[in-house]
C-alpha cells in the first residue's frame, strides 16, 4: 500500500481530483444554464463586454504586481493601495474640474489631466513605499518583506480613511462619457467601456514597446532575470527598481481612474478586491510575464462576468452574482494546481517562492 502511494503521489492525485471535480461541475452547470434558455445571446455579449472592461482594469493593475515580482521576487501587497490612492486623489481633481466648469469646456484635456493627477499620486506613493519600506529588506528572509507589504497596505488604507474620511465619495458625471452605442441584436456598449478598453490597450502597447525597444526596458528585463549579473553589466539596479515602481504606480493610478469611471465611486477600501483579482490575473497569465498579465486580466474579467452566471445559474443557485468574488479565488487555486506557471508561464517553476 505504501509503495503505491510513493509511486503515485497521493497529493497529486487528490489535487487532480479536486480540479477535475470543479471543472466538471462548471461544465455541467454551463450546459444546464444554456439549455434553460433564460438568457439571450445579447445578454452574453453584454456580459462579455463588461467582463472585458473589468478585465482591462485588472490587467493594468496586474502589470504592477508582475513587474515588481519580476525584479524583487515579492508580492507587493500594497499595490492595491497604490491603485486606490490614484482613484481617490483623482476624485478631488475631477470634482474640482467639474465644479469650475473646466471639464465642461475641455472634456478631453480634463480627462488627460485627471489621468495625470492620478498617475502622479500613485507614482509618489509607490516610490515612497519602495524607498521607505522595501529597499532595506531586499536581502531579508522572504516572509519579512511580505509582512512589511501587508503592514504598508493596512497603513495606507487607514491613512486615507483618516485623512479623507470613511464615506463613499461619488465621481462627478464626465461630459461625453454618458450614454451608449446600440449595436444590432440588442447589444449595447457604453462609451465608458470603450474608453476603458481602448485606453488600457494603448497603455499596454506603450509598455510593450518600452520594455522591448528601449535601453531602459532592456535594463528592466535584465534586472528581473538576475540582479547581480545585471549589476555586473553596469546596470544601475536601484534606479531600475525605482523605475519599475514608477511604471507600476503610473499604470495603477490610471487604472484607478478607469475603475472609478466605471463604478463612479471611491472609498478607502476600494483597492482590496481589485488588487486581489489583479494578483490572480498576474498568476493566471504567468507571474513576471508582461503579456501574460494582460492576457490573465482579460481572461479573469470575462470568466468572472460570464462564468458566474454560466456555471452557477444552471444549478438554481439563488443570486449567483454574490459569489462573483469567489470565482476569482477558485480560478487562482485551479491555476496553481493545474498549471502553476500560468498561461504564458515561465519563471515560476524555477523561482523558490
Amino acid at each position: 500500500m505504501r509503495r503505491f502511494f510513493e509511486r503515485y503521489d497521493l497529493v497529486d492525485v487528490i489535487m487532480w481530483l479536486i480540479a477535475a471535480t470543479i471543472l466538471i461541475a462548471a461544465l455541467l452547470g454551463s450546459i444546464k444554464t444554456i439549455q434553460s434558455g433564460k438568457y439571450s445571446p445579447a445578454t452574453w455579449v453584454d456580459l462579455g463586454i463588461s467582463g472585458l472592461t473589468q478585465g482591462s482594469v485588472y490587467a493594468l493593475i496586474a502589470l504592477g504586481y508582475t513587474m515588481v515580482y519580476g525584479v524583487l521576487r515579492m508580492i507587493n501587497f500594497a499595490h492595491s493601495e497604490v491603485f486606490m490612492s490614484g482613484a481617490f486623489i483623482g476624485y478631488f481633481a475631477a470634482t474640482w474640474m467639474a465644479a469650475s466648469g473646466f471639464m465642461e469646456r475641455n472634456p478631453l484635456l480634463g480627462l488627460i489631466l485627471l489621468f495625470l493627477v492620478a498617475a502622479l499620486t500613485s507614482v509618489t506613493i509607490a516610490v515612497l513605499l519602495e524607498r521607505i519600506a522595501y529597499r532595506r529588506l531586499r536581502r531579508a528572509p522572504r516572509l519579512v518583506p511580505l509582512i512589511t507589504a501587508i503592514g504598508a497596505s493596512l497603513f495606507l488604507q487607514y491613512m486615507f480613511r483618516g485623512l479623507f474620511g470613511s464615506q463613499v465619495r461619488s465621481y462627478p458625471p464626465m461630459p461625453g462619457l454618458e450614454g451608449a452605442i446600440s449595436l444590432p441584436g440588442g447589444v449595447e456598449i457604453e462609451y465608458v467601456q470603450i474608453l476603458v478598453i481602448v485606453a488600457a490597450a494603448l497603455m499596454m502597447l506603450v509598455l510593450y514597446l518600452f520594455t522591448q525597444r528601449t535601453r531602459a526596458g532592456l535594463a528592466l528585463r535584465a534586472v528581473s532575470e538576475d540582479k547581480d549579473v545585471a549589476a555586473l553589466m553596469g546596470i544601475d539596479v536601484d534606479a531600475t527598481i525605482v523605475r519599475t515602481f514608477v511604471i507600476g504606480g503610473a499604470f495603477a493610478g490610471m487604472a484607478g481612474v478607469l475603475y472609478a469611471l466605471i463604478y463612479r465611486q471611491v472609498t478607502f477600501y476600494m483597492g482590496f478586491v481589485p488588487g486581489i483579482k489583479a494578483f490572480t490575473a498576474a498568476v493566471l497569465g504567468g507571474i513576471g510575464n508582461l503579456p501574460g498579465a494582460m492576457l490573465g486580466g482579460l481572461t479573469l474579467g470575462v470568466t468572472e462576468s460570464v462564468g458566474t452566471i454560466l456555471f452557477l445559474d444552471g444549478y438554481g443557485v439563488p443570486a449567483p452574482y454574490q459569489l462573483k468574488d469567489g470565482i476569482a479565488f477558485v480560478v487562482l487555486v485551479l491555476i496553481l494546481i493545474l498549471r502553476p506557471t500560468g498561461i504564458l508561464g515561465e519563471r515560476l517553476s524555477r523561482t523558490k517562492a
Binding site: L10, V11, I14, M15, I18, M74, I75, F92, I132, A133, R136, L137, R138, R139, A140, P141, R142, L143, V144, P145, L146, I147, T148, I150, G151, A152, S153, L154, F155, L156, Q157, Y158, M159, R161, G162, L163, F164, G165, F272, I276, F279, T280, V283, V317, P318, A319, P320, Q322, L323, D325, G326, A328, F329, V330, L332, V333, L336, P340, K352, A353
Partner: protein, 589 residues
Amino acid sequence: MTTKRSSPLVTALRQGAIAGGVAVLLTLMGMVEAFNERDIVQGVISLGILLLVAIYVVFGSTTARTLPETRASVRLGASALAGAIGELFLVGLVILGQQVNLRPVFPNASPELWELLQFGLSAPQSYLAMLSFGAVFGALGAGLTLVSRRYRGPVIVGVVCVVLIGLLDDLIGITIASNPMFATSPVVDTISQFFFAQGVESGLSKAGAMVVFLVASVLAYQWPSLRRGARSRTQAMPAGRQHTLALGLYGLFVVILLILPNFLGPYLTDVSNSVMIFTLMALGLNIVVGFAGLLDLGYVAFFAIGAYTMGVLTTTAVGAESGQIVWGPGLTFWSALPFAVLFSLTAGVLLGIPVLRMRGDYLAIVTLGFGEIVRILALSDALKPYTGGSQGIVEPAIPTLGRLTASLSSQGLYYYLLLACVGLVIFVAIRLRDSRQGRSWMAVREDEDVAQAMGVRLVSTKLLAFASGAAMAGLAGAVFASKVGSIYPNSFDLLKSINVLAIVIVGGMGSIPGVILGSLVLFGLPELLREFSEYRYFVFGAVLVAMMLTRPEGLWPSSKRKQELHETFGPESEPRSQVLTTPGGAGSE
C-alpha cells in the same frame, strides 16, 4: 541608511522635514484632536499634545544619533532645529488652514484644530510658541541620547508608567467602584483622590503623576541590582529548594489568575475574555506561521467554521420563519464543542492539500482567498437556509456544568472556560514544539528542500501544522460564538486574520510567551482604548512595517527564530551574524 557623512545642518533639516511631515499627517488625520480629549496629567498635558511631543523627541534623538559630531552643544542645537522645523510645518498648516477652507478635502481640518495647535494663543505669539515647543522637545530628544543608559531607561519607564496610568484612569476608577471590597473603604477613597484628578477622563493629578513617575523610575533604576540579588540568592539554594520555589511561584501565578475576576469587575473580565479568545487564535496561528513558516492569511476561516458549527448545532432559533435557519439539532455546548474543533481541523487539512506545493507569497494569497470564500459563502443567499446569510445565527448555547457554573456571572463563566482552554492550548503547543514534529516544522521553516533531504515528510508535516492551527482556531471560534451570542459573516473578515497575524509577528514568531504578550499589547490595549478604534489599523500597519524594518524577531523572540532572521540580514550585518551563528549553520545549536 546612507553612510554618507552630512553636516549637522543638513541632518537637522532632513529629520525636521520628516518630523514635520509626520506631524502634519497625524494632525490632518484627526489624531491630535481626538487624542486631546484625554488628559494624561490634568492641566499639564493631554494625549494629543503628547503625540506631538513624542514626534519631536523621537526625531530629535534620531538627529542626535545620526550626527557624526559628538559635541553636546552641536547635538542639542541640531535636534532643537529639527524640532523647530517640524513645528514650522504645522505653523504653515495653521496659516494655510485659516486662509483656505480645507474641510471639503480633509474633514478634520476644523478651526478648533488650529486653535489647539496654537495652544489657544493668538496669531503672532502663537507661532513663536509653536516653534519653541518643537525646539524644546527636539532638544529633549537629543538630551536623552547624551545621558548614560543607566539613567535613560528609568526615566523612560517612569514616563511610560505615568502615560499608561493616566490613560487608564477611568478604567481604574470603574474597577474600584464596581468592587464592593474597595468601593466603601475610606483608605482607597483617599488614595484615589490623591492620585486622580476629578472629572471624567481627566487623568492623573499633578501630585499623583509626580509620585507615579518617582516610584516607577526608582524601581526601574534599582531593578538590575534587585534581579541580580534575587538570582544569586536562588542559585545559592540547594536544587530541591529551587525547584519548590519555582513551583510555588507558578502556583501563586495560577492562584492569581483564578481569583482575578473578583478584582477586575465585569468590564475588565469581559475584555480579558476577548484577549484570551485572540490568544487562542494566535497560539494556533503561531504553529502555522511561527513554527512551520507557512504564512496563512485566511486563518479567520477556521475561526469562522468553529463559530458557525457551534451556532448551527446549538441554536434554538430554528424554523422556517424569515431570518432563521432551517436546520439545527439543538445540541448542548459541550456536545457541539468537539464537532466545532473537528470540523475546523478537517477544513485545515482540506485547505492544506491544495496548497502543499505552494510557498511563501502564493500560499499567503491562496489562504487569503480561502478565508474570503468562507465569508462570501456564509454571506450568500445560496447557503442562507443553513448559515442565515447576512442575518447570521442567534442564540447559540451557553456552557453549563451544573451547580459548578450556576453561581458564576456570565463573564466569570467564560473567563474560567477560556482560561482552561488557553492553558490546554499552551500545554499542547509547548509539547508540540519540543517534539520531533516541532523540530520538523522548524526544519521546514528554515529550508524546505534541506528538510526534505533530511527525511522530513513534507506532506504530513505541513498538513499537521495546518490541522493543529485550525483546530485551535475552531476552539476559539466555538467559544466566541457562545460568548457573543450571535454569529454574523462580517465578524470574520480579513482584518481579523491580519489582527491575529500582527499579534504573532509583533509578539515574536514561534515564541509562545511572545504571542501572549502580543495579544495583550495588540488586542488588550486597543480594546481598552476603544474610543480611538478608528486609528487602530493605521497603528497596526505602522507597527508591522516598523517591526519588520527594525526588529523582525518580535518583542519576545524565540532564540532560534532570532538567529534565523539575522543570518541573512544583508551584507552590512555580516559581523553580527558571524557572532550569532557558527559556520556549521543554523542546525548546530
